[in-house]
């Protein structure tokens, strides 16, 4: 499968050299990698923690809409996922 093409059926996962972790002192999710750390904002953390390699993007969006009783977030979630792949935080369909 081509991990560069992304659609609603893709299953994103955290790239294996990154680690997603909740840091209570920072009150944020962070991505850890060799000698570095990215502090995520609330939405980014909520999206990335659902990227477990099993859920599809469609399921992740539905889950987020359910959790936050909202709709119409698909395009902004997708934009973030594309950015996260560009930054190599995520891979598709591992």
């Amino acid at each position: 499968m081509n991990d560069r093409s992304i659609d609603a059926a893709s299953r994103p996962a955290i790239e294996r050299h990154f680690r997603l972790q909740w840091e209570s002192v920072q009150n944020a999710h962070v991505l850890l990698y060799p000698e570095g750390m990215i502090k995520l904002n609330g939405s980014a953390g909520e999206i990335l923690k659902r990227c477990n390699g099993r859920a599809t993007i469609a399921q992740i969006i539905a889950d987020l809409e359910d959790a936050y009783t909202t709709t119409g977030i698909a395009s902004s979630v997708m934009a973030f996922l594309i950015l996260a792949v560009e930054k190599r935080w995520l891979v598709m369909n591992p």
């Binding site: 050299h17 972790q21 002192v25 850890l32 990698y33 060799p34 000698e35 750390m37």
Partner: protein, 381 residues
Amino acid sequence: MAGDESVNSELVEAHFKPGPPLWLLLELTYRCPLHCAFCYNPTDFARSGPELTTEDWLRVLREARALGSVQLGLSGGEPLAREDLEVIVAEAHRLGFYINLITSGVGLNESRIRALKAAGLDHIQLSFQDSSRRMNDFLSSTRTFDLKFKAAALIKQYDFPMVLNVVLHRLNIDHVEEILGMADRLGAEYVELANTQYYGWAWRNRRQLMPSRQQVERAEDVMRRFRERAGRPMRIYFVVPDYFERRPKACMNGLGSIFIVITPDGTALPCHAARMLPGVEFPNVRSARMAQIWFESAGFNHFRGDDWMKEPCRSCPEKARDFGGCRCQAYLLTGDAANADPVCDLSPHHHLVKSAAAGAEESHAEEKPLIFRSISASLTP
């Protein structure tokens, strides 16, 4: 009583409150099989007191994690010289640290790397001194080049992400193309090209290690071209040669802001080299808790904020960006740690940096022999 509480919290808020010490570096030992002439360890390391015990290190880890430390560097000296490295890694992993081992590779055999993997080590930074056996072995005063290749193969075999680190200076900076090629062949995810920072042994050997401006520009050009055509996702970290800059580095993001290092004898410092700074007393983990050290100690509060600054930094609009540069560099070059880092061309001492960099243009720069890091050289003034 609610009113009293709000008054109290206002008082607390009025003080400068540092964030958590996100980056914890443990220099587990000064023992090292290498003798690198650019080592940043203090030149008097052999006079250092006894190393902390395993229990001390584990307590430091627990206290620091509670404060919010999350990136952990295990360094030295050579951290593999500590037989309890695996115990320290296991506790750090249990606590939720992201654990970076910073090593020369000497002592990394298959049984140790397997144990480190099992203990939860996340990443290994492997140092080379050069891409050629001759220069690698000359600069470290050892025969370790082939050994490092074996270490690199083990790191990949055990599926660790690898940062390949090379300290750059006059004697190897012309090999950047070959160094990048070597890192690529070894499968490194990241290459750190760290231009020598002149502290410790590198300060002692500054004249011999300083590259020429032409060398620096050529190396930067090679790096840029490599970045543009890199087919594989290998990232390059570049530590700038600050003697050739006009603005100082934002050293440690400001002392006491995110970084804390514990030396082998337990001294806590806000940067690797800070022990040299006169008139500042640094605490020790044998007698103080990490929270006291970070929030309350004079050593960590001394250079926080900007009250300590002199002109031209104090009134400079850029002070929030570079914090006046490096305190150790200011002290080494001007004799006063509160001066502007003379790398800055607004510093009245900038000519000291310019003349040191210009000295490298002279052909006789290599006449004086290098002083290699060793116990005997450490005991000689």
